[in-house]
């Protein structure tokens, strides 16, 4: 059985300017342990899909099941990594940010610290735990977000363009690290991006969305390339071209 099932999910917003259909008839099964990249142009509704899986928003059509149970609200079983780093708590140190979920569960200070240290090391920030978010670079903040989500040991990770605001070099480094962390933890990941290379580099499957309004899944491409992925290899290029061809129509005319 799939870990997560989206069954004919739709989302329509009703605002002052009338109804806006962000997502239409979106169906997808996510298997336990897979890394699914959802690729789409801006405004295609991909973030809306993630927000509904996270439980921040409710679908207006269809349903979303997690382990067969409908998703109704956010919960500790789905860790979210946000695009911006406004989600970090400025008044806490990096280590206390990572241990925040453990604190919510009432874990003692010592256990919390030990576990947070473990994830701090995992995201490559050994020795930076006493710093506050304002003292960390954009890339480091995203590492803290990933560590915070992982420390809570969720069933799956939802990542909303987590590297979208980073420079190209930092982004490439963090993509590599994320791949390594995913291989270590084998968490199910739903990863939202508009970057074809990123999707092909990270995903075990890449889902391409039609452009909005009424964004829906256009195609799903399995990526059977070994990790770590060699971006200049012929096989990588071939998959890149395949995905690129699919999204080409969506890019043009999406403005």
């Amino acid at each position: 059985m799939a870990l997560v099932s989206l069954e004919g999910v739709g989302k329509t917003y009703h605002g002052r300017t009338g109804a806006w259909e962000a997502v239409r008839d979106f169906s997808l099964d996510l298997a336990d342990g897979e890394f699914f990249c959802l690729l789409g142009t801006s405004g295609c509704g991909k973030t809306t899909v993630l927000n509904m899986v996270a439980g921040f928003e409710q679908p207006t059509a269809g349903r979303i099941l997690l382990d067969g149970v409908p998703v109704e609200r956010p919960g500790a079983d789905r860790g979210v990594v946000f695009q911006g780093h406004d989600s970090l708590y400025d008044w806490l140190t990096a280590l206390d940010n990572i241990g925040f979920g453990l604190r919510l569960r009432g874990l003692g200070r010592r256990d919390r610290r030990a576990k947070a240290e473990h994830y701090l090391n995992m995201v490559g920030l050994t020795g930076q735990g006493a710093k506050h978010p304002s003292e960390l670079s954009g890339g480091m903040k995203q590492r803290i977000q990933i560590a915070r989500a992982l420390a809570n040991d969720p069933r799956m990770l939802l990542m909303d363009e987590p590297f979208g605001a980073l420079d190209a070099m930092t982004r490439a480094v963090l993509q590599g690290e994320l791949s390594r962390i995913w291989a270590e933890t084998r968490k199910t990941v739903l990863f939202i991006t508009h970057d074809i290379e990123e999707a092909v580099a990270l995903g075990t499957r890449v889902g391409v969305m039609k452009r909005g309004p009424g964004g829906t899944l256009k195609a799903v491409i399995p990526v059977d390339l070994p990790f770590p992925r060699e971006r200049t290899s012929d096989a990588f290029m071939a998959t890149f071209r395949e995905v690129h061809a699919l999204i080409h129509d969506e890019i043009h005319g999406a403005h």
């Binding site: 609200r73 406004d86 979920g101 809570n152």
Partner: protein
């Protein structure tokens, strides 16, 4: 390496700030001296030196300290009372729409009735003792604190709350561990603004009805034409306000997480 450079720049910045303040104050006193000695040349406008000498006399006689303590005690009591009332109301207004609808008209109404206008009614209700002063300071504090606290709650980033929710936070935990600490800088900013109001109010209240305090010192000095005393009181108010404001700025920065413990 980076942390070292960061720390030393912070230290240089602090030194520069202190040096700037000293120079700024020195310049003020020089201009004051020049204006008194060469421009105005009147016994009604003493220079800094006679005022300083007079201040020493008042300190020796323990008069200045007593007035300062009297005024500052009232300010602190009323200010803390006003904040203690204002913060929970502000949090409630910011958190619950129904409370906002109910209480916002009150705050929007009362904040335009200045505390100075309430002096007469305060004296009628509470007499000229401590109660009327504390009431007035609390009154002048509460609305500013309510408004900035409510604004702070409204400004808590959506992702901060969502992040807590998907880490498993209950509503109470979201409030206590996210909304409240995120609002603290706003609360302190409101209190900082309220403190300036408190200084205005305490002087006005002591001018009109009091047996001691800096306002009383000002009033008596006017009655007996002790012009230096007036200036001593004015400088004391300025310095006290300056120092109180510094304390708030340090607190705001500390809570905003811009400094870690090692700096």
């Amino acid at each position: 390496m980076p942390s070292f450079t960061m720390r030393s720049t912070v230290r240089t910045d602090k030194l520069a700030t202190v040096a700037g303040y000293v120079a700024g104050f020195a310049l003020l006193f020089v201009i004051w001296h020049l204006a008194a000695a060469y421009l105005v040349k009147s016994i009604l406008f003493p220079g800094p030196w006679p005022v300083f000498e007079r201040a020493l006399v008042l300190i020796e006689d323990n008069i200045l300290q007593e007035q300062i303590v009297a005024s500052m005690r009232r300010i602190m009591q009323g200010f803390l009372l006003g904040s203690a009332i204002g913060i929970p109301i502000g949090l409630a207004i910011g958190s619950f729409r129904i409370v906002r609808w109910l209480l916002e008209p009150w705050t929007e109404f009362f904040r335009f009735i200045p505390a100075v206008a309430m002096i007469t009614v305060a004296v009628i209700w509470f007499g000229i003792g401590e109660e009327s002063k504390i009431f007035l300071i609390a009154y002048t504090t509460v609305f500013v604190v309510v408004i900035s606290t409510a604004a702070g709650v409204g400004a808590v980033g959506r992702d901060k709350i969502r992040a807590a929710q998907c880490l498993g936070a209950s509503r109470l935990q979201v409030f206590a561990l996210v909304a409240l600490p995120a609002t603290v800088p706003y609360i302190l900013t409101g209190m900082r603004l309220a403190m300036a109001n408190a200084f205005v109010t305490i002087v006005a209240a002591e001018l009109i009805a009091s047996n001691d305090g800096l306002g009383k010192l000002l009033w008596d000095a006017r009655l007996f034409m002790q012009i230096e005393d007036i200036f001593v009181a004015l400088v004391a108010l300025g310095l006290l306000g300056f120092l109180t404001d510094r304390v708030f700025r340090v607190l705001i920065r500390a809570f905003a997480g811009r400094f870690n413990a090692t700096v």
